[in-house]
């Protein structure tokens, strides 16, 4: 409650919303500034030289300028506008076969050299209790490289007034359409990251991300009932152009649901959300039992994240996260035995390259060129997510390129890449999929989620639920949650729509590590069908 790194941003639906703010707050005009690459290279060389001089066998340097802007509104009010910036340098070394790390926000040459020497001293001190020396998969130096998220409009450069006007028009649309309350927010992130290492890499990257969540609430005061419908947007690795959605970007789905793919029309979604929140108040409560589930990509991403992305992180598999995030059921022996993770239709791949995704970068935070690789191929577990000091554990010669730190002051470690479900190979639309279902539920949007520490038993809710009977959607229903055991669930996948329906969802705040770090990650899929899944009714009475 009192942690300094959190500022209170009032006005969220859940009362007071605490957001992780890791930097100092700055004026709007400073958001578009960048640091000179030549200055960063000189500073990086100071650190690399100092580390080598102190006895490091390897050193990498990350000079980061991390910028965030939050615009928070409810109904006709702007609750808060926050600009933050955090700049500094993190130096990681290997000395005596052991990692050491130190960071400073002082970018003078002396302070940077001192940080490098401190990192070496920590490595040497820790090497006394080291049982296995670090084995680093080789990386060829990239030379001097620069990369930027392909954006059309830098969200940081868009005038604050335009952002406030957009959110207030979103709120007005929801209220006009009958909402009792509406909260809407813009989260904008720009990571200006410079990486250099003793491998000979000098990599400058300018990474942009954006998220525009909203929450629309309908209240029936007489009955005391209330329901919310969250926005159906996705956080993206894009610029402000994501919010330029118009009617042409709208996709009409069964059940009268409208969603958006490449560009988002937030005002139209607010209007729809208000109507659907009111419908939720009077929707039929689900009868518990076994159902065939038809899961839209706005929902699938979270199920993929929890039941595939996390269990296939190698540090969890090995036990490094046992005291916090947990371990994994998907142990190394299962991969060696060709464990059947899912049905033959299921191919799940990891990547750090999908355009528009939250994870997309050219190089990861230890200078490894990013790529795509399979985790589950035609239903069989084939690989994990591993970084340079883990690759040898799974018999690989190179890192997968999924190393990340959430700040210059945090030590980089293995984080989830984008993990996605490959679209079906045969032509299949959502309508055709539903036509084949006798007794099912069509779920749109992510809701409540919970999964055990080894990623076996999970429970998921959603935003919108529609009953399917004899191939047709009959009505909107409520109080739905499904429970699953991960391998049985993925083995129950009987159909996946084709590439035309492939869309991404994602999380801005995936947490891991002690002290905790956050990261942003996308998950793509087309609509998928899972047969005979256990659905519970979540309605209760407080008397």
């Amino acid at each position: 409650m009192e942690r300094r790194r959190f500022l209170t941003i009032a006005g969220a639906a859940a009362g007071t919303l605490l957001l992780p703010i890791s930097g100092r707050l700055i004026a709007a005009e400073a958001l578009t500034e960048t640091l000179d690459v030549a200055v960063k290279k000189r500073l990086a060389d100071v650190a690399l030289d100092a580390a080598r001089g102190a006895g490091a066998s390897y050193c990498d340097v990350r000079i980061g300028r991390y910028m965030q802007q939050f615009v928070v509104t409810r109904e006709k009010q702007v609750n808060n506008v926050v600009n933050t910036e955090s700049t500094g340098i993190g130096v990681r070394v290997i000395a005596n076969g052991t990692w050491g790390f130190a960071a400073t926000r002082d970018l003078s040459k002396d302070a940077v050299a001192e940080a490098a020497r401190t990192a070496v001293a920590i490595a040497k001190a820790n090497s006394r209790i080291q049982t296995e020396p670090v084995q680093l998969a080789p990386v060829k130096g990239a030379g001097e490289i620069s990369w930027a998220t392909p954006i059309e409009k830098n969200a940081m450069a868009v005038p604050l007034k335009d952002k406030v006007d957009l959110l207030l028009s979103v709120n007005a649309a929801a209220l006009e359409a009958g909402a009792s309350f509406v909260n809407s927010t813009l989260f904008l992130v720009n990571e200006q990251k410079y990486f250099a290492s003793t491998d000979g890499s000098y990599i400058d990257q300018d990474v942009h991300r954006l998220w525009a969540p909203m929450q629309v609430t309908a209240v029936d005061k007489e009955s005391g009932k209330f329901r919310t419908r969250a926005g159906l947007s996705t956080p993206v690795g894009m610029g402000y152009e994501y919010l330029d959605g118009t009617a042409a970007d709208r996709i009409e789905l069964p059940g009268g649901v409208e969603i958006y793919s490449k560009r988002y029309d937030m005002v139209a979604d607010a209007r729809a959300a208000a109507k659907q929140a009111q419908q939720k108040l009077k929707a039929t409560s689900v009868k518990p039992g076994k159902y065939d589930l038809v899961l839209d990509p706005t929902h699938m991403w979270l199920t993929i994240h929890e039941s595939v992305g996390h269990p296939l992180e190698l540090d969890r598999v090995l036990g490094y996260e046992a005291n916090y995030a947990g371990t994994s059921f998907a142990t190394l022996d299962k991969r060696d035995a060709g464990f059947k993770y899912g049905s033959d239709k299921v191919t799940l791949f990891a990547d750090k390259v999908q355009e528009g995704s939250l994870g997309a970068v050219a190089y990861d935070d230890e200078g490894v060129k990013t790529k795509r690789w399979d985790l589950v191929k035609d239903g069989v577990l084939v690989n994990y997510q591993a970084i340079r000091d883990q690759a040898h554990v799974i018999g690989e010669k190179e890192s997968h390129g999924c190393c990340y730190a959430d700040s210059w002051s945090s030590v980089q470690f293995q984080r989830m890449a984008n993990v996605s479900l490959a679209a079906g190979k045969d032509e299949l639309s959502v309508e055709q999929m539903i036509e084949g279902v006798d007794k099912g539920i069509y779920i749109v949007g992510a809701g409540s989620f919970s999964i055990d520490q080894q990623r076996y038993n999970a429970q998921f809710g959603g935003q919108l639920f529609f009953a399917i009977e004899d191939g047709k959607i009959t009505e909107q229903i409520e109080d739905v949650a499904y429970q699953m055991r991960t391998p049985e669930f993925w083995n129950a996948c009987s159909a996946i729509c084709d590439e035309r329906d492939y869309r991404m969802g994602g999380s801005f705040f995936d947490g891991k590590g002690q002290p905790p770090q956050i990261s942003a990650v996308s998950h793509g899929s087309a609509t998928a069908r899972f047969d005979g899944i256990n659905v519970i009714n979540t309605a209760r009475s407080l008397g």
Partner: protein, 446 residues
Amino acid sequence: MSIMTESQAKAILDKVIELSKADECSAFLGGERTGNIRFARNAVSTSGEVSDAQLVVQVAFGTRSGTATTNSFDDASLERVVRAAENLAKLAPESEEFMPALDKQSYMDTKTFQKGTDEVDPAFRASAAADSIESCKKEKLVAAGFLTDSRTFSAFANSNGNFAYQTNTELDYTCTVRTEDDTGSGWVARNLGDAKQFDAKKDIATAMRKAKGSVEAKAIEPGKYTVILEPAAASGLITFMMFGFDARQADEGRSFLAKKGGGNRIGEQVFDERVDLWTDPADPRAPTLPWDQTGQARKKMPIIEKGKVKYLQYSRYWAQKQEKESHGQPGNLIMAGGDKSTEELVKGTRRGILVTRTWYIRMVDPQTVLLTGLTRDGTFYIEDGEVKYPIKNMRFNESPVIMLNNIEELGIPERLQVGGGQNQFLALIPALKVRDFTFTSLSDAV
């Protein structure tokens, strides 16, 4: 200079207030020195120390307000941060919900600093890790844990003449112990203000006992059971429920404490009459700062008394609109218990389940505070007053509101750090014995 003395902090805050040309100015200055050590697979994985400090400046022109922050405290930086806040305020829209700077506050005396905890060093941390690891190695168990210690200072001033300064110390230790074959898992958590009271060897024994005792767990049918939730297990559900104690949400009809037809349920019997819950910043067992994030004074206040709702959190704006009083947001949570240990609660139980810890709790339906989550790191079947055998973990779908109406007995409250991640606070929560707790499925996770 991350940890400043009172006079150093006051000098900076005085300068900020003096520099501001806005109608009003509030400033918050805080700093920390934290240390940590992380271990897994019976070896140290990472360790470090972080020193940092931050100044937050809030200013207002009329009802337009702006906020800016800096890490640098020289005169030029202070001037820059004040001007940055003023520039943002000038760009900000007028706010109908704007509240002026706090009037002069009177703060309670709370003892949040313990000499000794501020002197925890890398050797102390390394020995805690070594004690945990060596104990486990001897018995072919595997330890993964985290120890973090912190010394912080907080200071607040505004243009109405408020000034306050206080220091805080804390030590937090958690350790998960697993059997080498991954068939058993145990856990222990310890939060202390005074590091001298910390004994890793003693605490690790609890996690080791649970790990060994949870091997060869049997599956039982999910359903409604009498459960004994150890304090850590109970706190997961109770603290989640506290998000509903916001007056505005309740008055707006979107909380379980909203009244049908409008208004809120203050004064109503919502829980079993044995439920007493309050906040007290000065409680020596879980002391907290006497002001909240906005500088508003905290008080000792009943929240639930004999099962009746006594208090909802009114923001200053909502309190003014509803003509109610506003107090500082509570910084700790204290629940009354009984005098029985967990072992004594087990002795008095004919059939039931003992739960060490609850995990991954999420809101399923805010209307009823229906929560889902799982048991973890030691779940046991009780028969005729004895722990008979370990059982597999289970998922629950339960509302703490229903749970706190099904109380059988209360145990001795324990100090816990609750809230998760970096959004943490101190609580004193007893073990709870409750009937008809709803488990909905089995988990194969160990």
